[in-house]
């Protein structure tokens, strides 16, 4: 049993934290890649900016400025600092529901990002800065995992994380493999960078060796069973947590668990050879649409349900 508002906040903490981490990785990879002036580097910058929905052409030419804005611009609701501030604000609203250890981690990241030294340490070494934020976020996850009860609240936190993750990776794949992609995506360097953006390079190498091909990259990020940032992995977790959270809701709510189960099955039984023929684009956009539907369904079932249905007789 937990307050609907609390579940809502925990869910958003998960989403914002995941988003911040993904943005850090994207910025870091882009910044590193664009130290070279090759065609591959240009592809990477285009992919990264498209994946975060940044359509500012000037940013293509000046990746440092783009990264700076992405990291520390408080005006921009989508920046890393804004995401972290929102995650922390949500945590503050449910301060009684998360453990002190978990709260401290998040609060510390927030204080670092908004402190007077943030801009300077970013300027001194942006890569190290972003790297530290990612490491701090890992500490946050670790503290949450190790200290919070793995009950309902925990499930909403993870639901937020995995839904956000499925959507973020989905968007990245859409930019690289979708029908509406702009420009080529074939350079070895670009492929490696996309793997890095998903923190997938090392697991990929173990699975496929250093044979890096677009088809395999797609297969790995979309359909791998064990890699935690593949969409299949994320949807399996979404299904797991929605099913567990729905357990206590009265029957008759054909809710999020049905949608999540269907999406999970789609990815579980997808066939790479068929995908090659039909084009991956359709599956990727199905994934993105279904994620939106699951999100809405979670709201209708757990948070903004109609009182008429739930009043005691």
């Amino acid at each position: 049993m937990m307050l609907a508002r609390v579940a809502d906040s925990l869910y958003w903490i998960g989403r914002y934290v995941e988003r911040a981490e993904h943005m850090c990785r994207l910025s870091d990879v882009m910044l590193n890649a664009t130290l070279d002036r090759t065609e591959g580097a240009a592809q990477v910058a285009r992919i990264a900016l498209a994946a975060v929905g940044d359509s500012d052409r000037a940013h293509l030419a000046n990746p440092y400025e783009a990264t700076l804005a992405m990291a520390l611009d408080r005006e921009d609701q989508g920046s890393i600092v804004s995401s972290l501030a929102l995650a922390r604000e949500n945590a503050r609203q449910v301060r009684d529901q998360i453990t002190t250890e978990t709260w401290e981690r998040l609060n510390l990241i927030y204080l670092k990002m908004t402190g007077p030294d943030a801009a300077k340490s970013f300027a001194d070494g942006s890569s190290a800065f972003l790297h530290d934020v990612i490491a701090d976020l890992h500490l946050f996850r670790g503290a949450a995992d190790a200290t919070m009860s793995h009950g309902e609240g925990w499930r909403f936190l993870l639901l937020g994380m995995y839904l956000e993750r499925a959507q973020l990776i989905g968007r990245l794949l859409e930019v690289c493999f979708g029908d509406r992609r702009r420009g080529a995506f074939d350079e070895h360097f670009a492929l490696v960078s996309v793997l890095r953006m998903s923190c997938a390079l090392e697991p990929y190498l173990r699975r496929y060796t250093a044979d890096i091909q677009p088809r395999k990259v797609l297969e790995f990020l979309l359909l791998d069973e064990d890699f935690p940032r593949s969409i299949r992995f994320a949807t399996a977790r979404i299904e797991e947590h929605t099913t567990a959270a729905s357990r206590y809701v009265e029957a008759g709510h054909a809710g999020p668990e049905r949608l999540a189960g269907r999406l999970k099955a789609r990815l579980q039984y997808a066939d790479m050879d068929e995908l090659q023929v039909a084009g991956a684009s359709a599956l990727i956009s199905t994934v993105l649409d279904e994620c939106v539907a699951i999100h809405q369904s979670i709201y209708e079932t757990f948070v903004h349900y109609s009182l008429e249905m739930r009043l005691p007789a």
Binding site: M1, Q93, L307
Partner: protein
């Protein structure tokens, strides 16, 4: 032992405020918590004083930094809203504990218990048969016309007659060293989280001294509070659901609301989480509606139910008061308790204690002039430069004139305001709060302090053996409210030598 560096600082301060007055005759010299008027360290402060003497200024500064970092990391902050941006600050917290010996505390404890018992009886009476008004002990119109009197509470059953379940009285120590009650806070007193957080912090800063001093534990406050709240629930509800009602994250005491909810293991609800249906109160959970039995509300009377009280309030929930009247939910503290901590009713508290308990008040009041009485009014107007005048309805250090510190014009203006509405004002002599050593800019200096202990009343009355000591951090200032630049420090209540810590 005497630590001369510290002692000198104190003496020079005393003589600065009261020149040419010897310590023996110094009625106006504030009582110092650590030093006697001859500059000797009081025995219960000896260990701390010895410890401080071994610390260099840099060590102290480092400890202060550690302390502040602890508060920041825990998010024990309040938000200051500026024009463009809002910043979070920690409540200024002083490193050095204030120490109260066992025998002094036992008097405070019995005094507070007596007082709250009488005030609860008073509330039960005025919201019931009103005997005390019939007997003319307290003027009828004073009670019935007080803005905090709630007609809606008339003849409503309150379990154990416990109206004020959580009370935070403000005590001060007068120049002769005796404690007196300055104010009773029976509505939604706050500060208990600072008491607990200060303790956490000072255990870290002075672990050895803390251990040796045999300080009484206060960490049971959350479960005592929960037990008190549960004792208010109806008998036929075997496992009552308690919830803490907060105005929300923008309230300056939000940290405290969340803190108490977390330590009690109760949900922290806002008005928008609640639904009243068929005179029952429910909260919206992920799995549907769930009934609430006891609401520890941290929202003022005016805002808890737009149907009964202020119509423009979105902080409460419509229908809550009717559910309360129907006996399906208990609101703690009860609405309408404010009438007993009204600044004019305050003057009658010793009478109230005598009326109900047949005892003299153990803790005295501060002498109070009621401007509603013509004779007292003229005295007040003639002595505005010596008195502190307070508006009856205001709190938090607002609507107040500190005569000796005010300009002639301010006094004249305030005098007019009093004449226009004498019922609304009371006056008290300027009180010298006692001073305690504080770390200010690297040096140890005395600052004025008060004492806010917390008393719980449900089935029985329990005084927590600890308190929030509020500090006026500005030199010479007597205002300790956090809204007016005050800070706080930990308060050590020492255990009797014989008994072990419970």
């Amino acid at each position: 032992m005497v630590e001369y560096g510290v002692a000198t600082a104190h003496i020079s301060e005393d003589t600065a405020t009261a020149p040419n007055v010897g310590p023996q005759a110094s009625l106006n010299v504030p009582y110092d918590e650590m030093l006697t008027s001859r500059g000797l360290v009081r025995p219960h402060y000896a260990a701390l004083d010895a410890r401080i003497a071994t610390l260099a200024a840099a060590d102290m500064a480092e400890r202060q930094r550690v302390l502040e970092r602890y508060f920041l990391l825990q998010g024990i902050t309040f938000t200051v809203y500026g024009g463009e941006s809002s910043t979070e600050r920690i409540i200024p917290t002083d490193l050095l504990p204030r120490i109260i010996p066992a025998e002094e505390w036992s008097k405070i404890e019995t005094g507070l218990t007596q007082r709250l018992k009488a005030l609860n009886m008073f509330l039960a009476d005025i919201y019931g048969e009103q005997k005390i008004l019939m007997d003319g002990v307290v003027p009828r119109e004073l009670v019935l016309s007080a803005p905090s009197y709630r007609r809606e509470m008339q003849n409503l059953y309150v379990p154990h007659q416990a109206y004020a379940n959580v009370c935070g009285s403000d005590l001060i120590r007068q120049t002769d060293g005796a404690f007196a009650v300055l104010e009773d806070n029976l509505r939604v007193p706050s500060g208990v989280s600072y008491m607990l957080a200060n303790r956490e912090a000072s255990r870290r800063t002075f672990p050895g001294t803390f251990r040796a001093a045999n300080v009484r534990a206060i960490d049971r406050y959350p479960d005592l509070l929960l037990a008190t709240l549960k004792s208010m629930a109806a008998d036929w509800r075997p496992n009552p659901q308690v919830a803490v009602l907060t105005p929300g994250v923008y309230n300056s005491a939000y940290y405290e609301h969340a803190y108490l909810a977390r330590l009690m293991g109760c949900p922290l609800v806002e008005g928008r989480d609640l639904v009243v249906h068929d005179n029952m109160v429910y909260m919206r959970t992920t799995t549907g509606l769930r009934r609430i039995d006891v609401i520890y509300r941290r929202v003022d009377d005016d805002f808890i139910d737009p149907l009964t009280f202020r119509r423009d309030s979105g902080l409460g929930v419509a229908g809550l008061f009717n559910a309360y009247r129907a006996g399906n939910v208990v609101i703690c503290n009860a609405p309408g308790t404010g009438v007993a901590d009204d600044k004019a009713v305050y003057a009658y508290v010793p009478e109230i204690i005598r009326y109900y308990l047949g005892e003299d008040a153990i803790l005295p009041n501060i002498e109070t002039y009621l401007c509603r009485e013509p004779a007292q009014l003229s005295h007040v107007l003639a002595n505005l430069d010596k008195l502190v005048v307070k508006a009856v309805g205001a709190s938090g250090g607002y609507g107040m004139l500190i005569g000796p510190h005010a300009s002639k014009q301010e006094r004249a203006e305030f005098g007019e305001a009093i004449k226009a509405d004498p019922d609304n004002y009371i006056a008290q002599p300027t009180i010298q709060l006692s001073t305690a050593p504080c770390l200010v800019d690297g040096a140890i200096e005395p600052r004025h302090v008060d004492l806010r202990p917390f008393i719980l009343s449900g089935e029985k009355i329990v005084v927590t053996p600890g308190a929030l000591t509020r500090v006026a951090l500005r030199k010479g200032s007597l205002v300790v409210n956090s809204s007016q630049g005050g800070g706080s420090k930990d308060t050590w209540v020492l255990a009797d030598g014989k008994e072990t810590q419970s």
